[in-house]
């Protein structure tokens, strides 16, 4: 019986360590559900830990899966902070009543335009929609005047996007808010007929650069990021900004919020304050992310077209509807 007992003891010890292991890790610092680019979030986390000594564990994923995941987890969510690339995911979590109010001095760091009016989440960065095109295949005078032009049959087979990504879905949510449900559904149907699907905006740009396709709807910073590295995937690429308050000139606000269920409110609020504040915003200016800084008085990377020159449409970030967008896209056969 000795063997059986020792085997049992071993198995129990293993089981306990398996279940208790992760729980122990949670008491150590904060857990951030990070939908931002891993490299950027890592820089933020390291900068914050260096300054405060508070450990940050990142769980990396996308806007939409995390927002839905947090809603499914409800009050039991292991997450303390949620960072996104776009606003709709923030809205989803806010509407489920799962955010704690953001500290007033954090909100004070960011202009009104880049935060939720409810004060439940705050902008941490921004990105602009662009039409990235291959300059050897498309001349500047043949460019679409509006995002809506891409629904025209003349654009069949000539443009690309990454429909499964939250980035593109955010652009659709802006379209939905600006033009209404019927127009959006029609546009998506035309899109299904016209466009080529890729997975990920980097992949779209790579295909545009290689001349596989003439252009693609992505965000601006992929181009600058690649240019700063080797330029290998962007040397034939040029960016077209739609401007004129076009839906295609949409500037998407990346958000950050603290979960009401977090057992580390103080640390979580401190992290958000740091990201929206001087330290976090300087990472945007000096790092390799090339996203726009949104903090008051914070400067973006000088290589970028200034945020104020983009003539973005007025979109209320707090009411972008991600659920409706995925339903419409599923109905159009894009998902």
């Amino acid at each position: 019986m000795k063997y059986a007992l020792s085997a049992l003891a071993g198995a129990t010890a293993l089981a306990i360590s398996l279940i208790a292991g992760p729980a122990a890790a949670e008491n150590d610092g904060i857990i951030v559900y990070n939908a931002q680019h891993e490299s950027l979030a890592k820089e933020w986390a390291e900068g914050f830990t260096k300054e405060t000594g508070i450990k940050v564990t990142l769980r990396n994923g996308g806007d939409s899966d995390f927002s839905n995941q947090i809603v499914a987890e409800g009050a039991a969510s292991p997450a303390d902070v949620f960072l996104t690339e776009n606003s709709p995911a923030m809205v989803l979590v806010e509407n489920a009543g799962l955010f704690a109010p953001v500290d007033a001095d954090t909100l004070a760091q960011v202009p009104q335009d880049y935060q939720a009016s409810s004060g439940k989440w705050v902008g941490i960065a921004a990105r602009s929609t662009v039409f990235a095109y291959n300059k050897t295949k498309l001349s500047a005078d043949k460019l679409p005047k509006s995002l809506l032009d891409l629904a025209d049959p003349s654009w069949k087979g000539r443009w690309a996007a990454s429909p499964s990504g939250a980035d593109f879905q955010a652009i659709v949510s802006a379209l939905l808010q600006l033009k209404g449900e019927a127009a959006t559904a029609d546009w998506l149907k035309a899109m299904k007929a016209n466009f080529t699907a890729y997975k990920g905006n980097s992949t779209v740009m790579k295909a545009v650069n290689a001349g596989e396709i003439e252009g693609g709807v992505i965000y601006h910073y992929y181009y600058f990021g690649d240019q700063a590295k080797t330029g290998e995937n962007s040397k034939n690429v040029e960016l077209h900004y739609f401007k004129n308050q076009d839906p295609g000139a949409f500037v998407s606000v990346s958000g950050g919020g603290v979960l009401a269920s977090s057992k580390h409110q103080k640390e979580a609020q401190a992290f958000l304050k740091w990201v929206a504040g001087k330290g976090g915003q300087e990472v945007l200016k000096n790092g390799q992310s090339f996203e726009y800084a949104v903090g008051k008085g914070a400067e973006s990377n000088p290589k970028l077209v200034p945020l104020t020159d983009l003539q973005a449409p007025k979109v209320d970030a707090a009411t972008l509807n991600s659920k409706k967008v995925t339903d419409l896209m599923t109905a159009a056969g894009l998902l």
Binding site: M1, Y3, A4, A7, A11, L14, A15, L18, I19, G21, P22, A23, A25, E26, I31, H37, E38, S39, T57, L58, R59, N60, G61, G62, S64, D65, F66, S67, N68, Q69, V71, A72, E73, A76, P78, S164, G165, A166, Q169, A197, Y198, K199, G200, S202, T203, K206, A207, A210, E212, D226, N233, T326, M329, T330, A331, G333, L334, L335
Partner: protein, 526 residues
């Protein structure tokens, strides 16, 4: 191996056998039933979600053009890939097993080696060389390259065991070599081809990363898309339901095609070793096939990984990051393999020592669940833990359970083979010397089956190391395996930074693939 079991069994009167195990069997059977019930949870879950969602929503989500598109894509992929893989594997197996091809043993090993390269790394290599590669034919090309060894292994093993007497008889009756091959050899390979095709087909249904690189949408990629857009929405679960049905179709087809013919030798005596055919002047031509195959399956990935490693220089070897990922991957692989082996133990024991209808049903459950794509099992476990068993959510325990369910059949097959070789008399002797039933089992059969358990664990570990989708969905916070890191870098088109991870995954898988190769040789008795 099977015959040894039958011998041991038939030499004992059935009553004695039953009495000997009366005391042990109930606890082991209970354990086996529990494991099988647990294995059925993901399946039950999908049905339950479908019932809960209501027919109207279900039909709206299933009967839509997108699902039709995916069905056509997935169906064509299987229909094209499997036959090509069969032709390639049979040709290669014949060349390496039945001819005097120079370096036949080396070629045989090289035909198995592609298994050491994760499917998504194959795709990564091809997309580097041909950036525009996409669509159905690209899918077929890379799938054949990544998965044909799953057919080559059983086919070459079967070819090795064939009794040459049948072929001699056919030749003596006037059939030419081609007709002998078609009418005598090929029918005898049927079981191996069916089994291998099933494995290839199931892998095609389950694979994710491979098809993302080359932009080919299958059910699995669509489920992951839906998961990324809605977490655990009903659309993802309904797609999973259709995918599961596809798996069942494949399983059913295999049973139908397999048939029930007799393949064993009639009469006494043992089969001779076959003579190897002389290729003569055709040797050079015949060398081209394994040569080109190796170039495409091993050459392309190695050249590309090498190219990116050189391009990335020392900068891409971020040792702290890589070390952490390596450690976590090894830990998950070992712990998962251990759990799968422990879970497989009762079932393996019953299937050798006390086979019967119950055992066959239980075993069938495990194989069916093992054939489900990782994404389906992960989706079920995520939803179940988050809704019902929250303390288990995002824990190491849950992900290990997922691994165990996915890879249980691998552990089961190896364990069963070595339990069959452990004489039952030892268990009885231990009992008669006064050991308690489970203790007697522990000190005899379980110890003797250690080599099989180790081989099974290695195979499970190989699967876990290269697993991506389930790991991403279930991993505890802060987990970053080699596959996850590779995926994250290649998603940002940072192929150079991804290359060290690809290199390590391949380097760690190669010895395990070698083990697989040696094991298949041993099973064939040579």
């Amino acid at each position: 191996m099977q015959s040894a079991v039958d011998l041991a069994r038939s030499s004992l009167p059935s009553k004695t056998r039953r009495r000997a195990h009366r005391r042990v069997a109930p606890s082991i059977v209970t354990a086996a039933v529990l494991v099988s019930l647990l294995a059925l949870v993901p399946l039950a879950f999908i049905i339950w979600i479908a019932v809960q969602t209501g027919w109207e929503t279900v039909s709206a989500l299933i009967f839509r053009p997108r699902v039709g598109e995916l069905l056509v894509n997935t169906g064509l992929l299987v229909l094209l890939t499997v036959p090509i893989a069969i032709v390639l594997s049979v040709s290669l197996a014949w060349l390496t097993e039945r001819t005097d091809l120079p370096g036949a043993r080396l070629w045989a090993w090289l035909c198995v080696a592609p298994l050491a390269i994760p499917a998504f790394v194959h795709s990564y290599a091809w997309i580097t060389i041909l950036p525009g590669l996409h669509g159905l034919w690209a899918g077929v090309l890379v799938s054949v390259i990544a998965y044909f060894p799953l057919l080559y292994l059983p086919v070459s093993a079967a070819l090795r065991r064939l009794d040459p007497a049948l072929e001699d008889a056919a030749a003596a009756l006037g059939l030419g070599p081609w007709r002998v091959f078609r009418r005598v050899v090929l029918p005898q390979l049927r079981l191996a081809i069916c089994g291998g095709s099933l494995l290839v087909g199931l892998h095609l249904l389950a694979e994710y990363g491979l098809y993302v690189f080359i932009r080919f949408d299958t059910f699995t990629t669509a489920i992951v898309d839906q998961f990324q857009s809605t977490f655990n929405g009903p659309a993802a679960n309904m797609l999973a339901g259709v995918l599961v049905s596809c798996c069942f179709v494949l399983l059913g087809l295999e049973v139908l095609v397999r048939g029930e013919e007799r393949y064993a030798r009639v009469g006494s005596g043992a089969a001779r070793h076959q003579p190897r055919a002389h290729l003569g002047r055709a040797t050079i031509l015949c060398l081209l096939l394994p040569g080109i195959t190796t170039l495409l399956t091993i050459g392309v990935p190695f050249i590309t990984i090498g190219r990116w490693l050189v391009a990335g220089g020392t900068e891409v070897w971020r040792f702290d990051e890589i070390g952490l990922a390596l450690g976590q991957t090894l830990f998950l692989a070992l712990a998962g393999a251990l759990l799968a082996t422990i879970a497989a133990m009762p079932m393996a024991w019953i299937s050798i020592r006390a086979p019967g209808p119950l055992q066959r049903v239980l075993e069938g459950c495990n194989y069916i669940v093992g054939s489900l794509p990782g994404v389906v099992i992960a989706l079920a476990l995520v939803t179940i833990t988050v809704r019902i068993a929250l303390p288990l959510y995002q824990t190491l325990f849950t992900i290990l359970v997922a691994y165990a369910l996915m890879f249980l059949p691998r552990a089961l097959v190896s364990l069963r083979a070595s339990i069959a070789q452990a004489p039952i008399e030892l268990e009885r002797a231990a009992s008669s010397l006064g050991r308690a039933p489970l203790n007697a089992l522990w000190s005899t059969t379980i110890r003797l089956s250690a080599p099989g358990a180790a081989a099974g664990m290695a195979l499970v570990a190989l699967g876990i190391m290269n697993e991506l989708t389930a790991t991403q969905m279930l991993a505890p916070n802060g987990t970053r395996t080699l596959a996850m890191a590779f995926w994250s870098y290649s998603g940002e088109i940072d192929y150079a930074s991804a290359s060290p991870y690809a290199f390590i995954m391949v380097a760690m898988s190669l010895p395990l693939t070698w083990l697989l190769y040696v094991q298949s040789k041993r099973m064939a008795g040579r």
